[in-house]
């Protein structure tokens, strides 16, 4: 028996073991009645509009257009810009509403105030109030970073404005190292926004950075050769199996594609390489605790993304579970 056959046997065994009574994972079916579209006058606005319009057209949700900017006083030019954009969206046959600038001195506070009036999804750009080229991959902007922590709803963030909007919906890429309930929430949201003919891709990453930390931490307690990529790929296999089964079944029921890939490398690097290679929507499951390593990893994924990002904070998985 040659080594490749031995490896295939091992993988096959682990796959069957994982499939034997995997934990039951239920994907939420979020309700989407109103989408809040946040414009900022930057070069990303056209992409934000296209994303929001596509979601509204697909789901039948209404659009509520806001323009948040610093300062207490409303600026007529910006208010006019908002009204014009809302009118253009309405001309496309969408149910569009707009209104006076929400209360608050800071843009994030205005956007949170707008969400309090109703809305299950916020479409905005990151960085907010800055052109994408100005900050690029270095920052998401302070407004978005605060929204990530405080938003009561998921965020659909436009990134590189050069990305062709029509092609972005072909695939939703959901990366994960350890499967948790936040990934079920994120998958549920992705399926809610996915158009027919599109698909969900689960990217299981064997994170070598994690391996390095574990090896360093364990030191002499564990032989170095005992912790390798293959070991890493097996971690949480059972939990992954539950999520994979739930996603496959849900996608099959909706006629959507669903595929599972496994990659080895540093999480942010692997996701950036794969995620940015083609137009698609990156789905990031952000854990509740902003101090956690997983939360920081989610931020790193967002910064590296050139494609739009659907960021689903775990504390908000929707209102109805199937």
């Amino acid at each position: 028996m040659d080594p490749s056959e031995a490896r295939e046997l091992e993988e096959s065994m682990r796959a069957f073991e994982a499939a034997l009574a995997p934990p039951e994972v239920v994907l939420p079916e979020p309700v989407l009645r109103r989408v809040v579209l946040a414009l900022d006058g930057s070069n990303q606005d056209p992409l934000s509009e296209e994303l929001a319009a596509a979601v509204a057209a697909r789901t039948g949700a209404s659009l509520h257009v806001v323009y948040a900017y610093p300062g207490e006083a409303a600026e007529p030019a910006r208010e006019r810009y908002r009204e014009e954009r809302a009118a253009q969206l309405a001309a496309r046959g969408l149910a569009v509403s707009t209104g006076p600038r929400p209360a608050g001195a800071e843009p994030f506070a205005q956007l949170l105030a707008a969400l309090e009036e109703g809305g299950e999804l916020l479409v905005a750009c990151a960085p907010y109030l800055e052109d994408f080229g100005a900050l690029g991959h270095q920052s998401l902007g302070s407004a978005v970073e605060v929204l990530l922590q405080r938003s009561p709803v998921p965020l659909l963030l436009a990134r590189d404005p050069e990305r062709p909007p029509a092609e972005l919906w072909r695939e939703f890429l959901l990366p994960l190292v350890f499967a948790g309930p936040e990934h079920a929430s994120a998958a549920g949201w992705a399926l809610r926004l996915a158009p027919p003919q599109s698909g969900l891709r689960l990217l299981l990453v064997a994170d070598t950075e994690l391996l390095g930390s574990a090896t360093h931490l364990l030191g002499d307690f564990v032989a170095q050769q005992a912790l390798d990529d293959e070991v890493l790929k097996q971690l949480e296999r059972k939990e992954h199996a539950g999520l994979i089964a739930a996603c496959q079944k849900a996608c099959a029921a909706r006629g959507l594609g669903c595929r599972v890939s496994v990659r080895t490398g540093e999480l942010a690097q692997v996701v950036a390489e794969l995620g940015n290679a083609e137009p698609r929507v990156l789905v990031v499951a952000a854990p509740a605790d902003p101090r956690s390593t997983a939360y920081q990893q989610a931020l790193a994924l967002l910064r590296e993304a050139a494609n739009p990002v659907l960021c689903v904070p775990h504390r908000h998985s929707g209102t109805a579970a199937s």
Binding site: E8, L9, A252, G257
Partner: protein
Amino acid sequence: MGASLLATTALGAALAAGAGAPGAAETAAAGARPVLPMVLCGLVLVATFALIAFEVINKVVAALAGAIVTVVIALVLGVYAGPKPYLAVHRFIEHDLGVIGVIVGTSILVEIAGASGLFHFIAVRLVKLTGGRPERLLPAVFFATIGFVTFLTIAPGTLIMASLVLVITRALSDDPRPYIVGLALAANSGALMTFASGIVTLMIGTSAGIPYAHFLVVSLPLGLLSAAVAFFWVRLSYRAELAPHGDPAARAAMVARFDEWALVKDRRIFYRSAIILLLTIAGFASAQALGVGLDFIAMCGGTAAILFSGFDPEEAIKKVKWPVVLFFVGLFVMIGTVQETGLLEVLAGALLAASGDSVLVAAALLISFSFVLAGLVDNIPTAATLIPMVKTMVARGLAPEPLWWGLVAACNLGGNPTPVGSIAAVIALHALEKERGIKVGWGEYLKVGGTVTLLQLVLVIAYIFAFRELGLFPRLG
């Protein structure tokens, strides 16, 4: 050692026959050739087979080394004819290029189909249908193994089923031995079902020019019958281990907890590869009518799988069984050189002489010899050595059908008696020992596999005789 002795004895007998025993007339042409190259190349062949049989060195290295030594002998002793003698080596490889093409094409296709989770999914569905009942589980394992080997070839089919059996028997607290031994035996029956089910079948089918459809008439029923023999003997041998135990409802509930959807990697590849696999099989069946070789169909299937599955081409190409391809290159060059010396013609003449020119006796001898040699060495070198011999016998006027079909059956089933006789047994028993710490020793395996082999030997000879006497063989061109 056993193989070496056996082959040396056969060699000696053949040379004696060629030197003057009855049948020498038939080997007159070969007898006129120099004896030294025959003896030297024959010894290299036997030594190579011994290295392979006893796993002294890697079998690919053994075949390549054997090829190099025989080529050197042939060049020094002037065995190759023509103005550029070395070009004979290229002819040997070119002659069997079709087999290599089929291996490359099908291994890409099988890899992609396997990676989609299609066969894992089907396997779990099938096991769930049994409700965990032992009297249903064993037939399901046999059935699935035969089916997977038929479509996926022997190694991938065995890998899937061995791993499933180990997981399911652990979950049900069953003894895995009956299932593991059973699936190893079933896999060898599955390998002779169709043209492309196994490498040996492919080699013989290509050399003999047997159309795909003929396999459905002749070897598919034989494969099923041989599997039935194995099934009943395994059930009888392990009746205590297979006796129902535990609460049937609890067993059914345990099996029902399997979620086959967790095994699906990509539904798009899943469906597309299934369609391409079926189209490729249809292509194999109609290759002759289309006027193309099976290698062309296999390469079309492999390329279509890469193009339409979305599978990473680099990954797919890496999965080609390159060691098998190299093994074949070495083997073809070595056997081609040995054939060039006239030795295989002498051996064929000896076999003809021993059979008294009766095709049925010749077939019985060939089948018995192939069973033994395939069990001791490896069925691929066995087939590679015996194919030229059968060609010689056919060229001398024996009916081809009993000989070719006998060889197909014997080379595939010949690996059944020992735990190292076939790749299926090696994989299944290795998995059992590694994952469950259970070792099936030579004694236990011989008791079951050896008996099955004897029964299958009788079955194959009777089957070939019956087909010949009843005129059921489709005529080969």
